[in-house]
Subunit: 345 residues, 4 copies
């Protein structure tokens, strides 16, 4: 059994992570923390966990001890806080999987520009935690900066085309929509039930922080800088992200080459389900699972390709992805603890 | 009092139209029809109308008599059926407002190509029923081809920029999302409650029939052919459309020129609410009303403008727009019967 | 024009009231207040009101001046605050309609026992504001204590049977369910969107404050004390209340007598729609309107009658009822400003 | 490995059952059937099952062969069809778990009276499939008539009080509410998304077929005939049932005796979570799991006890219960394949 701890277990991502790890046959949870609810049982905050996990929340004040007790530490804190934990655990043999943004960027100045906070751990031995693209580096990295939710859906949708240089890199637009759990458990008028019900809206247009994260991965894949548009929307539902991605096809790219790019890129991937050309992913088809479903359409009139990808934002977009990365890093089969059937309807 | 009839009153658009007209102080409803429910009261099919309107549904078999009894005939039939009615009423003094697609196209070959049905009334004296753009022609046209729901939101969002040549016409992408009432009252597995709840998906990518309708209006405004991408999505809610429109700014277009284009184009428009630059329309802010709320954002990094527009698909996207057109055609104040406060929350 | 003011215009009930009054042909709004948002426009807090009502929120500090400027003052404050306003306006000729609980009880000790606050205005000239039962007193009362939401649905469902002594008064159980707007606009984890979506629960079992209010009205009608069970539930929707009421039939009461009790009691009532025996009200059939739809069922096996009633909690359960009471008190037709067609779907 | 088949795999209950069995470590699925979709893959009908289960649907025409290939046959057909299958498999060593109503009644004349169909297999060796009450008989029965959804929630809520004679058996009222998946996958206007969204209603008042099923179990427990009221409601959500049960306490029953009845009755039960007195189950706390959460409240004013119980209608109310019964019948640990963490939020 590998010993794991969760720093920040009371947000939606943290609680989802706990739900997965508590049933993971090769993980043993040693500590779970919360600063605002120290001393309470997690099942008092999340009654669905009653009898499933009644562990008591501790403070992260003695993070070094938590680190010493753990083989892996998962961090599910708001951005800006994980790098402090990461730095303190630098000298210990424990490995870190951060679900936040602190360790996602190769270039910490990009992080600082978009997150408006100084990076205090720029020289960390880290990797971007999107297994389908960075699997080999994940095996050995000290710190894994788990990919974000919108970014996972967007990168996985665009990677095959960008990697094989089939589309104009300056033409990329990602228009995405998320269920409300993506906004977290913190109270906010915009997420108050009556405000959001029977309502649909965009937010953070041209300024969402997942933008540079998508650009970084696409640049890695293509070998050149890429600037995209990314527009998130909020759907009156709990879970799920659908990314609708637009890119202009390069000249003389036959449709078959598009199809082949997807097949080749994702051959053997357990969590990518290619629905194929002209198909339609739905967020409910992946709900509760670690799957990313992908389909693509060619608009012959405009010579654009439209790629659709769907994930559960809390699983493949957060906690499931973290466990997938954990499995890789720990040397387990990649799907251990994650072979969940999507919940439908 | 002006005498009006509704041909096809039992779909969502027809029932919404009836709900508006029954409270319109200058309209008197003379006939309402349904072929599948002839002889029933409308309030048997729509119990919310009990004591509000208990009129009996008739057949449209004797459409000439209905036409003779009416000053205006509203048609809310599936596409392909209105032109038959229109043709039969050609010789009568009655005027027609069709909520479907049959009379929306200047060039009936475009209609035929997208709707796969021969047009039997190509020489009708018709106008496209989007008041903010075609108001003058609406005053006198025999037949008004009421604009579609997605198209209304899209055209109103893009009109100021296209008309003033501020964006590259080949760069336009419209990514839109609609509540489920837009799909009508007909039963379909995809719209069965448990299938759609907590679910989000795209549909008809690259093939939705509102595409050429948007293109026609934008071409009218710009003076040149325009080909766009249009992608609709289905939101698990009842009502509302949000269109997120992307276009690349022409060189040297200052932001103020964008703002001014909107202000000028919609000065004095009762049903357009310009929320301004960097604002966020929400579908719930217009729910139940004839408003179209519009805001815009500039992404300096990509030089794209993102325009957001929200309507109630059944009101400004269908029945409200029809009554607005009716008011114009009949010489009433444009907002008679439509000065409804949006229902929130 | 009658001059009206709204004290506490920024909660859901206050904003709904404003939405109705702004279109009321015989009311002129003179003041709207909010202590936490003084100086802001109401349309900044409720963007759906933009261009509809952009009045500025004032403080109620100078309530005497507001009273002097008004013929009617509507109060939509949390319980415990209205009686302070009421007392200060006692000497002025202004009349008061309170949407809260402060003036609902004949016996202020009942209020004090359930609301845990001392009543400072026990000798007010007040009436319970449920027009279908207390219409005559409403015409002349200084202060109208507008009936609550659950109570309106429950009392209207049970009144005919209790009044005509057709059921055992000790057998009454009211099991009711409300949309989330009934819980107000204040943020609370339980009403955070992801917590409530795809979720259903009871709350305040055996302790909800609407219990003694229902009992008071039923006792008034029957002439004897009545103790009931009342259980509220929260439905993951915005609006609407359905009350399911159970009572044991007295011996030898024929079914026709039940039917007749409803018909007689509500003959001529504009806002009561009797769907009849064996019918099913749905909250959506009354959404956005001031209707209360009622149906009843006899279970021959248990000799219980089950009465179902549906209202829009913010309209007939709050703001619409307040305007109905206002119309009565001001001598207008009872339905002025309230002849709204329910919004469906 | 135990060989299992599913007769009628394409309804919601059948598909949920498949989702559980496909991950059950001791079950091997040999046949799945559908008459209307014979020859299709189940994952064509339920794309969430793609790569999870792509088995082909067969006809049940050769049910004897299916029976011969199986140790257990699960039946998820509309009522009236399972008894035909059951009869045909009578002579084979295969055991049967029917998710429908055909084998739920001790007295088939009760079944015939409520379901209006003749029972063709009245002498079957059968047991009512509610493990917490009939566990011992389930171990050996040839046919298990899996308990219904509303009934499971209702019986488990009331069993402790009825069994220990703490309440008046003639006073019982069950008021329950279900998500829409309980109504199945068949299309129906009432379950069309726009009709049900933001809507709440009762249905089948005094006539729901789960009534006699609840009565049968309560009578078994108490030793006397019991007649109850049962009223179902439809909640605009996908999954979950909450039962709110009312009963009058017998005289001199102290509250502690109530608490003790629950503790004793459910001691050691893996799937019953007693939240305790004055607590509130929520359907979302059990969503996706086989748990039944129970709490109870005493109303001292009316001397009624109100018991609240929550289940996932498709799991503990159907497929999970079937697998629990299967585990018991096959001699496995009762929770094999069912130790799923509820999905929240």
């Amino acid at each position: 059994m590998v010993k794991v701890s969760i720093i920040g277990a009371t947000g939606y991502a943290g609680a989802q992570l706990l739900s997965i790890l508590v049933r993971h046959p090769q993980a043993q949870i040693t500590h779970i923390t919360s600063e605002s609810h120290t001393g309470k049982k997690i099942s008092e905050l999340y009654p669905h966990l009653r009898d499933v996990c009644d562990m008591t929340l501790e403070s992260l004040a003695d993070i070094e001890q938590i680190g010493a007790d753990s083989d892996f530490v998962f961090i599910a804190l708001p951005h800006g806080h994980a790098m402090d934990v990461g730095k303190k655990l630098d000298a210990l043999p424990v490995r870190i999987i951060d679900l936040g943004a602190d360790y996602r960027f190769n270039d910490t100045t990009v992080y600082e520009a978009w997150y408006h906070v100084a990076h205090i751990h720029p020289n960390a031995h880290r990797v971007y935690g999107l297994a389908e693209i960075y699997r080999e580096d994940i095996r050995t990295a000290k710190i894994i900066g788990n990919a974000g939710c919108f970014t996972t859906a967007s990168i996985l949708a665009l990677a095959p085309l960008v990697k094989h240089h089939l589309v104009d890199p300056n033409s990329i637009i990602v228009d995405a929509a998320s269920g409300v759990s993506g906004a977290g458990r913190g109270l906010k008028l915009g997420n108050h039930f009556p405000e959001l019900y029977d309502n649909f809206k965009a937010y953070n247009v041209a300024h969402h922080r997942h933008t540079p994260e998508i650009e970084q991965a696409l640049a890695d894949l293509s070998g050149e800088d890429i600037i995209i548009n990314f527009t998130p929307h909020l759907v009156p539902m709990s879970r799920g992200i659908l990314a609708t991605c637009y890119a202009t096809l390069n000249e003389n790219v036959p449709v078959e080459m598009i199809d082949a790019a997807f097949s080749k890129t994702y051959a053997g991937e357990k969590f990518i389900r290619l629905l194929g050309r002209d198909a339609y992913p739905e967020t409910k088809f992946v709900r509760g699972s670690n799957f990313c479903d992908i389909a693509w359409h060619i608009d012959e009139r405009t010579r654009r390709v439209i790629i659709l990808s769907a994930i559960d934002n809390l699983i493949k977009g957060a906690a499931g992805q973290a466990v997938q990365n954990f499995n890789i890093a720990a040397g387990f089969y990649e799907s251990v603890g994650l072979d969940v059937v999507p919940m439908y309807p």
